[in-house]
Subunit: 343 residues, 3 copies
C-alpha cells in the first residue's frame, strides 16, 4: 500500500522547490470535440480553422481554458491532494496557443509558505508553468491552497508571502504571434459588438443556463486527468455528493458568456478567481459579466478587455456579496480575466 | 443586457432575406468518435476509412446526420430561438460528403411567410444551405417553424407559401462523386440484405432500444452548437423537464435502424419529418421502418431506397396514428428519407 | 422482421467455423480523448506522443484495453447476442500497438463446443483475432460463453474442449517492436516504483473510487460498437436496471490501478478473467492488485509483471471469495494479466 500516492502535506513543501508534474498529454481534435460537447462553447476562433486563419493564426487552437485545465490537472496529485481549500489564483497568463498535436507538461515552483496559527494547516503558494514539446511555455499561473499538516510536530517554515499582482497590467499580456483582427468577420463570430461598444461598469446577463449532470462533470474532469477523489467517488463525502471541479464551473460560465461576449475571443490573463460556493449535480449554472477595464494592444485591430465573470446557481441579480461581506450562497464563481476583442 | 441575442420574431423576417449564421465549425475524428459514443451507429461507410475507400470515397465521411446537425445547429439562434413549434422539413439533400478537416458554415434564405389568424404567431419557411471551406454546398434543406410576434401591432406580411416537393424524385438525389457499390462487402457491412431484397410496403422492427439520459442528449446537442435553452436548463419549463432536441431522436432512431438496414448506407434525401411528440430523459427509444419506394441510380451498383423511419417510446405496433388522425402518444418521430444501398 | 439479426444459437456453431465480424472501425485521436474522458486513465505511454517516442514507439498508441474493446465489440452480434453468461477469457495477447488512423476488424474461430446436460444450453469457445488494415494481427484472445439452444431437438455436437493455457508463459508475450525502457522517465510517468520494487504476493490498494453513471457506461459501450440490448434498454431486464458491460469495469479498474502501478505501462497478456458479479449504475468501483509473478524480457530495460486486478464495489479487504468458495458479492472483476514495466 506504500506504493500509492499519499500526496504532499504542508511540511513537505519548501520555498524554491520545483515539482515536475507527471503524465504529459498530447491533445488532438478529440479534446476539441469533447470540449464542445461538454460546454456550450461557440467562440469562433476555437471552432473554425478557417476563422482562426483569417485572424492570423495557423489553425484553431485548443480553447484557452482547456489548455488551462490540462496544465492544472497535472498539478492535483502534487499540490492539492491534501488541500482543504483552493484559495486563489493570480498572474495567470496564456503565452502561446496550444494546437492539435502539441504535448503539454507542467511544473510548479513553491513561491510562498505560511503556516496557519492553528498549527494544523498552512498555505502553499505555487507558480505553475505549462510547457509544450518544444520547451515553450504555453501558460503560467499562481495558485494558493490550504494544505493539511501530517506531522503536527513538524516545525513551521519561515513565512514567505509572494508579492502577486492583484491585476495584470495590459503590458503584461502576451498577444499570440500573428494575431490580427483587422479583417475580423463579426457575422461569422455571432455578434456585432466590438471592443468600443463595451464600457467599464457595464454588466451583461448571459441569459442561458445549464443544469449540471454527474456524468458530464466527471467526463470533463477526467479529460484533464484531474483525479481528485472528491469529484468521482460518491462515498467520499459524508453527504454522498460529488463536489464539482471548480474548473468545470469556469468553463461552463465562460461558454455561457458567449451570449453577449461572442467577440471576447481569447483569454490572455487571469487576474484572480474565487470558487465562492461549491457546485453539485442538479445545480443550474447561469452567468453574468461586469466589464472592469479596457486597454489597447499593439496587435492590429486587437483590444484587451478586463471582465469579471460570475457564475451563479439561480441568482437573479448582479449582487455578489451579502451585508456581511461574504459571497451570497448562490454565487459559484467570481473570476477576473483579460480577453482579446476586435476593435 | 442589450448585447445578448433576443432571437428574431415573426415581424423580423422578410421574403428573400438571407441570414448568414454564426460560428463556422471544423470537424475532426473527434466528432466522429463522439457520434459513435452517443449513438449505436454502426454503418460501415461511416466507421471505416478502408470500407469507404472500397466504395470509391477518399475516406470515411462524417455521418450524414452529424453533418445535418452541424448545419442545423447554427440556424437555431437566428431561426428558432423564439419558435413555438418546429413544423416540418422538406427538400433536404446531401450534396457532398463532409470529411475530417472540413469547416462548415450555414446560411438560410426566407422563402415563405404566413401570419396566423390569431395575429400572435406566424410561420416562417427557410431554405438552409451548409457550405464547406471551398464554398461547396454540402447539404440543403427547407424547414418551417411557428414563431412568435413580439410587436403584435406589426402589420402582417403578404402571405407567401413556397412550393415544396412532398417527396424528392430519384433524379433530384445527388450521388457522391465516385461512389461505387459494385465490390461492396456485405460481410463487413453486417447484413446480407441488398436493395433487391426490400419491397415497398415491407416493415422492419429494429428490435433494439436505448433509454435516454440527460447527460447524453445535452452533450450531443452541444456538440452541434445548438444552444436552445429548453434542452439544457431544467428550470426553463414549468415541468422541470429538459426537452430533448428532435435531432437527437433522429440520430438515435437512424442508428437503431442498422439492425435490419445495415446496408442503407448513405442518406441522400430528406423528404419530410415530424417530431410527433416530445422526448424526455428516461424514455426508451425504439424504431421501425417502412419501405416506401425504390429507384435505380446511375452510380455502379447503387440503388436508392425511400424509407419511413419511425421512433417510438415503447410502442408495440406499426401504427402511427389514432382514430382521430393524430399521432399516437408513443410516436416520437416520423421521418421520410432516401438512402443509398448496394444492388 | 426477418431482416434483423437474431444472433446465433448453440446449434449454429461448429468446430472450425470462422466468423468474419462486421463493421470495421478506423480509430483517431477522438477515441483516445474519449477514453481519457471515460476512465481516469493516466498511463503516460498512452497519454503523450513524446513519452511514447522516448520509449521507442512511433507515437502514443490507443490504450490496449481500448484496442481490446474495439476488437471485442464486433464479436457481440455473432457470439454473445444469445449468451446466458460470459464464462471466461484465456490466451489474450496484444501483438501490435494500434495507432490513430488504423482500421480494425475482427474474426473468430470456433475452437470448442460442449452441450450442457440440461440440453438447453451449451458452451461455445472462440478464438478471436483483431486485424489492422495491413492484415497484421493486433491482438487475439479466447473467450467462452454459455449460449442458448433455439431448437432443443437439435443434436448435441461432439464435445470438443480446447486446451487453453491457464497462464501465458513469459516467452508467449510479444514485446512491441522497438520498445525500450532504458531511458524511461519515472518523474513524467508519475511514480518511482520500478519492476524490481514489486514482489510476488504483494498487494496494492489503489485507493481511489469512481461512482458509475448510466450515461458514461453507455457512451463507452457504444464507442466500441457493442450493442447488446441489456446495456442500453432499461425495459429489457425485469428489474429495470441496465447491466454494465464487463469491459467497462475492466477499463475502470485498470485506470484506477495507475495509483500504485503507474509504471505497469503496457498490457501484453490476458491470462484469464471473471466478471464475478454484475455492476450497475450507482456502484462505486474500487480496485486492488496482487502481484502474481515477474519475468525478464529481451527488450532493453523492459520487465514483465503478472498482476491480478480485482474490482470491487466497496469491499474493504483483499478477500475474493467466501467460505463457500464463491466470489464475495462485492467483487466485480478478477482479472489476471501481464504488463510491461521499466526495470
Amino acid at each position: 500500500m506504500a506504493k500509492t500516492n499519499p500526496g504532499r502535506f504542508f511540511e513537505d513543501y519548501s520555498i524554491g522547490q520545483v515539482i515536475e508534474h507527471a503524465v504529459p498529454r498530447t491533445v488532438s481534435g478529440g479534446e476539441r470535440a469533447l470540449y464542445h460537447a461538454l460546454y456550450p462553447a461557440r467562440h469562433a476562433l476555437y471552432s473554425s480553422d478557417e476563422f482562426a486563419r483569417a485572424c492570423g493564426l495557423p489553425a484553431s487552437p485548443l480553447d484557452d481554458l482547456a489548455a488551462f485545465h490540462v496544465v492544472f490537472g497535472k498539478t492535483v496529485p502534487d499540490v492539492s491532494l491534501n488541500a482543504v481549500a483552493n484559495l486563489g489564483y493570480a498572474e495567470g497568463r496564456w503565452l502561446k496557443p496550444v494546437y492539435a498535436g502539441d504535448t503539454l507538461r507542467s511544473s510548479s515552483e513553491v513561491i510562498g509558505l505560511k503556516q496557519n496559527s492553528n498549527g494544523k494547516t498552512g498555505v502553499v503558494y505555487v507558480r505553475t508553468t505549462g510547457t509544450n514539446q518544444n520547451g515553450e511555455t504555453v501558460m503560467e499561473y499562481c495558485r494558493w491552497v490550504m494544505v493539511r499538516k501530517k506531522d503536527l510536530d513538524a516545525p513551521a517554515p519561515e513565512t514567505v508571502m509572494p508579492e502577486l499582482k492583484s491585476v495584470l497590467a495590459p503590458e503584461d499580456l502576451v498577444i499570440p504571434e500573428g494575431l490580427d483582427f483587422s479583417a475580423y468577420d463579426f457575422t461569422l463570430a455571432g455578434e456585432p459588438h466590438r471592443w468600443g461598444d463595451y464600457e467599464p461598469g457595464e454588466t451583461i446577463d448571459h441569459v442561458d443556463g445549464v443544469t449540471i449532470e454527474e456524468a458530464e462533470h466527471m467526463m470533463a474532469t477526467r479529460l484533464w486527468q484531474n483525479t481528485a477523489k472528491v469529484h468521482f467517488d460518491a462515498t467520499f463525502r459524508p453527504d454522498g455528493q460529488r463536489l464539482i471541479y471548480g474548473g468545470h464551473v469556469i468553463s461552463m460560465a465562460r461558454a455561457l458568456s458567449f451570449n453577449g461576449l461572442a467577440n471576447a475571443q481569447m483569454i490572455v490573463g487571469l487576474n484572480g478567481g474565487a470558487h465562492a460556493n461549491p457546485c453539485f449535480s442538479g445545480d443550474t449554472v447561469k452567468a453574468w459579466t461586469e466589464v472592469l477595464d479596457k486597454a489597447d494592444t499593439p496587435a492590429p485591430g486587437v483590444g484587451a478587455i478586463r471582465l469579471r465573470l460570475v457564475a451563479t446557481k439561480g441568482g437573479e441579480s448582479f449582487t455578489l456579496r451579502g451585508e456581511d461581506g461574504k459571497y451570497l450562497p448562490e454565487v459559484l464563481l467570481d473570476l477576473d480575466y483579460w480577453a482579446l476583442m476586435p476593435q
